[in-house]
């Protein structure tokens, strides 16, 4: 991380505010979000510092952080924020922006979400076995959960065929029109 003094990227601040519909000036850096965050131990920046990076317009650091990809969306921060800031939504928005700028600091997480949505687009519903195969293909993580496969198969927990919806065209249409919108 560069530590040279930087100017506030006011455009970035405005964009996060607009997309998250949150007033970032409300944050007084009490640290409650960090205190309650279950995944904080795995973050590079704790949540309150992510909020600070946004408050001070440090776009590059915020969008390339690992934290925004590791946030589990558990909503603890949002629930307990004394200023009623929807912190989890800000984390969501930062992920959206990072993806748009092709910055994916947690490759596996990004790949999993991509594979998940591809499965939804293809079948209308998530096909778990296909999703795993796609994810392994994307990441080369051959041994992901192979230890669980025998158990999952024995218990019938892993469907062998996809449950495609009937009107797949509607789903494809949604994805197509969504892409046009963007």
């Amino acid at each position: 991380m560069s530590s040279s003094p930087k100017a506030f990227d006011t455009e970035f601040i405005a964009e996060v505010q607009r997309e998250s519909e949150q007033n970032l000036a409300l944050c007084y850096q009490c640290g409650n979000c960090t205190a309650g965050c279950p995944v904080s131990f795995a973050y590079d920046y704790p949540v309150n510092q992510i909020m600070r990076l946004v408050q001070t317009g440090r776009k590059q650091e915020a969008l390339s952080s690992h934290a925004i990809w590791l946030c589990a969306s558990c909503e603890t921060c949002t629930t307990r924020c004394p200023n009623d800031i929807d912190v989890a939504r800000v984390m969501d928005v930062l992920r959206h922006m990072a993806r748009r700028e092709n910055i994916v600091s947690e490759k596996a997480v990004g790949a999993f979400w991509k594979a998940f949505l591809e499965s939804v687009e293809k079948h209308g519903r998530v096909f778990e076995l296909g999703l795993m195969a796609n994810y392994v293909g994307k990441t080369g993580r051959m041994f992901t959960d192979v230890d669980l496969a025998p158990m999952a198969l024995r218990k019938g927990k892993l469907g062998l065929k996809a449950h495609d919806i009937k009107k797949l065209a509607e789903i494809r249409g949604i994805f197509d029109r969504y892409r046009e919108q963007k």
């Binding site: 640290g31 960090t34 131990f41 004394p82």
Partner: protein, 651 residues
Amino acid sequence: MNIGVFVCHCGSNIAGTVDTEAVAKAALSFREVVFATDTMYACSEPGQAGIVDAIKTYDLDGVVVASCTPRMHEATFRRTLERAGLNKYMFEMANIREHVSWVGKDMEANTRKASELVHMAVEKLRRNDYLEAGEFEINKRVMVIGGGVAGIQAALDCADGGLEVILVEREPSIGGKMSKLDKTFPTVDCSSCILGPKMVDVAQHPNITLYTLSEVDSVKGFVGNFDVTVRRKAAYVDWDACTGCGECTTKCPSKKTPDRFNEFIGNTTAINIPFPQAIPKKASINADACIKLTKGKCGVCAKVCPTEAIRFDQQDELITERVGAIIAATGYDLFDFTKYGQYGGGRYPDVITSMQYERLLSASGPTEGHIKRPSDGAEPKDIVFIQCVGSRDKSIGRPYCSGFCCMYTAKQTILTKDHMPDSQSYVFYMDIRSPGKNYDEFTRRAMEEYGARYIRGRVSAIQPKNGRYLVKGADTLLGQQVEVEADLVVLAVGAEAAKGSNELAEKLRISYDPYGFFMEGHPKLKPVETNTAGIYLAGSCQGPKDIPSSVAQGDAAAAKVLVLFSKDKLASDPQVSNVKLVRCIGCGKCESVCPFGAIEMVDFRGMPKASVIETVCQGCGVCTAACPQGAIQLRHFTDNQILAEVNTLCL
């Protein structure tokens, strides 16, 4: 009529967005305006001198000043007119600052609007009458509501100044929150040692009548002449007979009565004297817990009382006191921390409030000054203090800083170390607010000499773990999570308006803020006055305050009362309602709508007619709107005057 118009620049406040010269020029075309000018600061000495000169030079008999709100300077300019020999009611003010220059930036529109407001003022002024203020007698007794340290201070000052004082307190004893504290910051002197003598002074002062276990029931009247009805609640004990010997409390079998004074740590008896230094030191019965009063049996206290003072059939008593001034000193309540579900919401026995901890520290408290966990009586080793519980938290409707928690927490960490040298205190804080004299040095001492570990960050949650508590916080300076295992957690609960304060404010007809704290007359220049004449504020009822500030306000409020009472008579405002007898049909509508009881029905040659008690009327005008005949008119705001203003704008 010769009218003069003065258009104030107010520096750039008005002139920045209003063409004041153009407004003055426009005014010259209004009827009966013989002189008009713009002026830099109309309220300044040269500004006022200019008005006096113009009155004399142009033989003016009415003046309009276009400047700020009348609340700011109406009285100033009225005095200017008086100095120039005019009746002070021949004056009108057009508010072209708050209503024009501060709300719009369009110079042209602003100038037009300002001219129109001046025109309206001129038309009203043309219909003004000479009014003369009357005089009325005042009653030089004062009531102080609330017997905490602020109320005690105010009562003693007034009494020492020779006034007759009635001190009303809701609890059985005076002393308030301060009487529950162990030590006080930043001197760590014993709270009851410094408050106790003052409480005794109250009891012994010949000028003070003390009503405890009493509340204000209703307030009638006006400055100089209030009638306050006080409800003296049944103590079920004849206090004239009770000697405070305490025999009843030792024999009472109802020993599991919730102990209010000790913040519900431990129990007391149904008949009790709240604490050893109570003033008055009289027993009273908690009716909800008393076996005799709930089940009809027992009566042990009556049998053992050496003076036969017990009165199970005692009823509330209403007493009306006539006073000339009232000081509200009703204090505050502590934030109800059960709203914080993440801190257990009251489910964890060893998560307590700072005031409960204060009682644990106090030698006269339920543990005789030994710090013990409420759950098992064990001495705690690791104690976590959490600041800002119910302060600076928008999500629970408490965005304000309570102001004293940082200091009392530092004090509690110091006392903790004094009580238990092997203990360790941790303080989770956001910012340390310690701006008083010797205050910051005190919080530093807690860290530097007493080893309290201060951690900058809020606590997200408290979770029970193996008979202790896991306090999940953050150190935002490190940018890391911090988990501390604690034997006892003390929540620095903030202050909120005292329960029932809104109702009392309604009775006193004073304003209160969105949180229920009473509003001062002006945030800077009238800190202990209210917008209702004759009613003053002291202490935390106006906003959270520490002891020195509460005492200072008690002194200030007393001084204000002594100033008020330095005159024998007060001038009455002539801007009051007035009945035209020929038009009045005696329907009584005005009497029924008057919020001040200022209208009475009288017999006039065999017919009922309304009559205004001029000293009681506050000039609100409700009666004039209610009268179907237009028979009751508010002087200085008659229908004709208001219609003239409307017509000026609309025709």
